[in-house]
């Protein structure tokens, strides 16, 4: 995990947030992305960048193409047109697991945990990209595999402590309430020690208290580990409070991009959300 340094000068391409955090240069640059499913154009010529250390939100009405965008970033979809630049290099079409190895982790809109496994084991699966021992070694749990497991367990325990889920460490996740399952999923993504963390509607279906908890954890992750975060969210209050910059999509097109204040006052955004009368 990248440690946080107190660099006072703002790096190339970076900026200073109103609350005094320093945002670094471009981590990921998406250029003219177009994604089609047959005749349906899900994403139409969208460009934006994600900078190091920022919380970047992608918002838009239902069907705007937000989740598709996230799937493009995570490598699940390969866009027909456009380029993805990650850490200054053009990314060739990759499988999702290869993207994960590059340091991109995600959570899912519909929780995708292993219901029968404990919280601990679920988070441990997030370490898989970091494991070096082969299947045979792991099966007989000998030598390197044994050593490795205790190292990974240590990391996992750190995350459990961070997310304050000690009490459910050994509980099968299927038995947990929804809000906690979401938190375990965040834990699994964190276990991969990502540079870029993708959150697909982290607050969906939560009550106010759970949303507050989750917001605090997202800010803490960003603050403590310096992780760059890209998130999709419907709750406007949450988005405006959390994020440094917001991309607004509608019908696969980008209609706005900027700080929460800029986006809030953008007429195209207001129209997209409130609807306009089509003559």
């Amino acid at each position: 995990m990248s440690s946080l340094t107190h660099k006072q000068e703002i790096p190339e391409g970076g900026y200073r947030t109103p609350d005094g955090r320093i945002i670094g240069g471009v981590l990921m640059d998406l250029k003219h992305i177009t994604l089609r499913f047959g005749g349906v154009v899900a994403i139409k010529d969208i460009s934006f960048d994600i900078r190091e250390g920022e919380i970047r939100a992608i918002i838009g009405p239902n069907g705007a193409g937000k989740s598709s965008m996230l799937n493009v970033i995570s490598g699940f979809y390969v866009p027909q047109e456009g380029e993805i630049w990650f850490r200054g290099q053009k990314r060739p079409p990759l499988k999702p697991y290869q993207v994960a190895r590059q340091g991109v982790a995600r959570t899912f809109q519909n929780i995708a945990l292993f219901k029968g496994m404990t919280t601990l084991d679920n988070i441990m699966t997030g370490r898989v990209t970091k494991m070096k021992s082969n299947m045979l070694e792991q099966a007989i749990w000998w030598g390197k595999a044994e050593r490795e497991e205790s190292e990974h367990r240590e990391k996992v325990e750190e995350i459990i402590d961070f997310l304050e889920i000690q009490a459910i460490r050994k509980t099968p996740v299927g038995r947990l309430p929804y809000g906690l399952q979401k938190r375990v999923e965040l834990g699994r993504a964190l276990a991969a020690e990502p540079d870029l963390l993708l959150l697909d509607e982290p607050m969906a279906g939560m009550n106010v208290e759970e949303k507050e908890d989750m917001s605090r954890f997202i800010l803490d992750v960003n603050d403590e580990y310096g992780t760059t975060i890209a998130l999709i969210e419907h709750d406007m209050g949450v988005v405006m409070d959390l994020s440094d910059r917001v991309v607004v999509m509608d019908y696969g097109k980008k209609i706005g991009d900027g700080t929460p204040d800029e986006v809030r006052n953008n007429q195209a955004v207001i129209d997209a959300y409130l609807g306009v009368v089509h003559e």
Binding site: L4, L120, Q166, A167, D220
Partner: protein
């Protein structure tokens, strides 16, 4: 032996006991804390090193003798060390409730002019910083958990481990000063200052000397034969005198091990893993635990349920007798032994109470059924009666003389007398020095000869010599027709029902008694689920007619039982209502130790009380509530008021 007398003479402070333990029990475990899923442990020798490093670091920060050091956090070894480190440099530790809000903390910090605060995490730091303009004396804040605090201004903010590092590095420079200060600690110097939660008014700082703490620990350890082999779980608020005596006083006197849970939620699991031998819990804890056992048994299969019911019946019959060593027929004994294999053993194991040698409950009256349940399982649960001003112990129940309705005989070294007005007074080596900066209150409470008023009304049972407490002396009053009014007595009877979390009874100076009831969401919620009663909120459940009917049954049952006691038969409840919100310490309705604050409730719910007495059947009310983050909101409800049937009593008949 000359050696031992010299030694006991020198053992006149907690740091002196630490030095002895580090030498005598050096390799024994002194502290354990579950962290990252593993029990981390420190021996007495290691703990002594940690404390020394912190003490040296505090010297580097310029701590003076007589400074007050606030300690705010959940039970963790770091805070116990902080207390002893403060004592080592001649300062006075002041542990505080970590769930107190910023204003409450600021009051205490300001009252004792604390120069240092040693706190847990960002939450506590934020609370203090919020009030820092009102705290001119506060110079340094030291935190344990750095999370979220990296970007704070660190001019007056320090990380605990850094202070220890600084201390270690400055060993040569400051050790002579540390040794000089350690050598100066005397038996009558202040050991700790504890703020009482106070059911009325502002909290008062109770000053306890080393003599108070060490004598009380010594006597009580001898009473229950505590040794260095004990294991305890420290989970009660550190600001509370009980935790200080159990986890510091007795632990240092005996040299036993203090275990700290991972966090509040994991406490039941941690309890099971540790299996303490000596244990203290307020009645509420035992109630909650019993309720959850009963709820789970309701869901158990038929065979298991039958086994449980059958053997619990056996246990209730003979368990307490076996525990007290009274004769029991062989057949019953055999049956109990079988029950132990099938039910009691596994149950105690699940509850984490397998190894309990001595368990105490205090602070409130415990329900007889609850008390008997634990005793019948073979757990030596006893009651004690005490208060902060007495350094806990006033009376305790000796082994073999345990009953639910008494609080035992005077503890060793304690004299107890009942004055004419029925109030209990005591005198002991544990009697506090004074209330800090409050000579009037000190004089009101403690007389020149060292007798202290408890504020409780009680009497000694002639046959056994055991003390029985009726109620707070100031709450015991007279009703309009002169009959005795003891609200707590009735409230306790109500609270013994798992469905009732809290009750407040009114009636002083009135014609009849009435009550507010708080339902227990766990118990009633579970009952609702089993009976297919749908509800969306606490408020809705509380107002449900079937819930009202159930509570009415409980109230009427209590009335029948109250009527049996001639002296208190006037306290039967004629009318009651179920409150639409839980009484809460954040709203000032309860103290942080969850005792009812009568005056505040009477003021706040004056409209409801009026309705209880004016015969109305419904009342609309709006109440202000405080959320955990300090924001305020309002809730409104229309509450139903019900009449409960009462047993006609002699006094009433005579009056008619």
């Amino acid at each position: 032996m000359a050696d031992s007398s010299v030694q006991s003479e020198a053992l006149n402070s907690i740091p002196a006991l630490l030095a002895r333990n580090a030498e005598k029990f050096g390799a024994r475990t002194a502290y354990r804390e579950k962290e990252y899923g593993i029990w981390q442990s420190w021996t007495w020798a290691e703990a002594a090193k940690e404390i020394e490093a912190l003490a040296l670091g505090l010297l580097e920060l310029g701590i003076r003798e007589g400074d007050y050091v606030a300690i705010i956090g959940r039970n963790r070894p770091y805070f116990y060390w902080a207390m002893v480190a403060a004592q080592s440099v001649g300062a006075v530790p002041v542990p505080m409730y970590q769930d107190a809000n910023a204003q409450e903390l600021a009051y205490v910090l300001g009252h004792c002019c604390a120069r240092f605060a040693i706190v847990d995490d960002q939450e506590q730091v934020d609370k203090i910083l919020e009030e820092k303009d009102n705290l001119p004396d506060l110079e340094h804040i030291i935190y344990v958990d750095p999370r979220g605090l990296r970007k704070y201004d660190h001019t007056h903010l320090h990380q605990y481990s850094h202070i220890q590092e600084i201390g270690r590095a400055a060993y040569d420079e400051f050790n002579p000063e540390l040794e000089r200060r350690l050598a100066k600690l005397g038996y009558d110097d202040t050991c700790v200052m504890l703020y009482t939660s106070g059911t009325t008014g502002k909290p008062k700082g109770v000053v306890l000397s080393n003599r108070n703490v060490i004598e009380s620990s010594k006597n009580s350890a001898a009473f229950d034969n505590l040794t260095e082999e004990e294991e305890i779980l420290a989970y009660l608020p550190m600001a509370w005198v009980g935790d200080f005596i159990f986890s510091v006083g007795q632990a240092y006197w005996c040299g036993f091990c203090v275990n700290c849970p991972e966090n509040a939620e994991t406490m039941p699991t941690d309890l099971r893993e540790i299996g303490p031998t000596y244990y203290f819990a307020p009645p509420r804890f035992f109630e909650t635990q019993l309720t959850s056992v009963m709820i789970r048994m309701e869901d158990a299969g038929r065979i298991k349920k039958w086994l449980f019911d059958h053997y619990m019946k056996v246990a209730r019959e003979v368990g307490p007798s076996i525990l007290d060593g009274r004769p029991v027929p062989f057949g019953k004994r055999l049956s109990y032994a079988l029950g132990n294999i099938f039910i009691y053993g596994p149950l105690k194991n699940v509850l984490g109470l397998s190894r309990i040698r001595v368990g105490y409950t205090a602070g409130e009256a415990i329900g007889p059924e609850i008390f008997e349940f634990y005793r019948s399982l073979g757990i030596n649960l006893k009651q004690l009666y005490g208060q902060t001003e007495a350094t806990v112990f006033i009376t305790q129940q000796p082994d073999g003389e345990v009953r639910a309705d008494t609080v035992g005989v005077p503890s060793p070294g304690v004299e107890v007398e009942i004055r004419d007005n029925g109030e209990v007074y005591y005198r002991s080596p544990g009697v506090f020095v004074e209330y800090y900066k409050n000579p009037e209150s000190t004089a009101d409470t403690k007389d020149a000869e060292g007798w202290v008023a408890t504020g409780d009304a009680g009497f000694f049972e002639e046959s056994t010599g055991h003390l029985r407490i009726i109620d707070r002396a100031k709450d015991v009053g007279k009703m309009a027709d002169g009959r005795l009014f003891a609200p707590k007595y009735v409230e306790n009877k109500l609270k013994f029902y798992p469905n009732i979390l809290e009750a407040v009874v009114f009636g002083a100076g009135r014609d009849f008694c009435t009550a507010f009831i708080n339902i227990d969401l766990n118990a009633v919620g579970n009952w609702a689920e089993r009976n297919n009663i749908a509800y969306a909120s606490y408020q809705e459940l509380a107002a449900h007619p079937q819930v009202y009917a159930m509570i009415q049954d409980h109230v009427e049952e209590v009335n029948r039982s109250v009527a049996e006691d001639e002296m208190l038969s006037g306290c039967q409840i004629h009318r009651f209502l179920i409150l639409h919100k839980e009484l809460d310490a954040d709203d000032g309705e309860l103290t942080r130790t969850r005792k009812v604050r009568r005056r505040i409730i009477e003021e706040k719910y004056a409209d409801l009380i009026r309705a209880l007495y004016d015969g109305s059947e419904k009342i609309y009310t709006e109440t202000e509530v405080t959320y955990e983050d300090g924001r305020k909101g309002r809730i409104s409800a229309t509450l139903e008021i019900r009449d409960a049937s009462v047993v006609p009593t002699k006094a009433k008949v005579a009056a008619q």
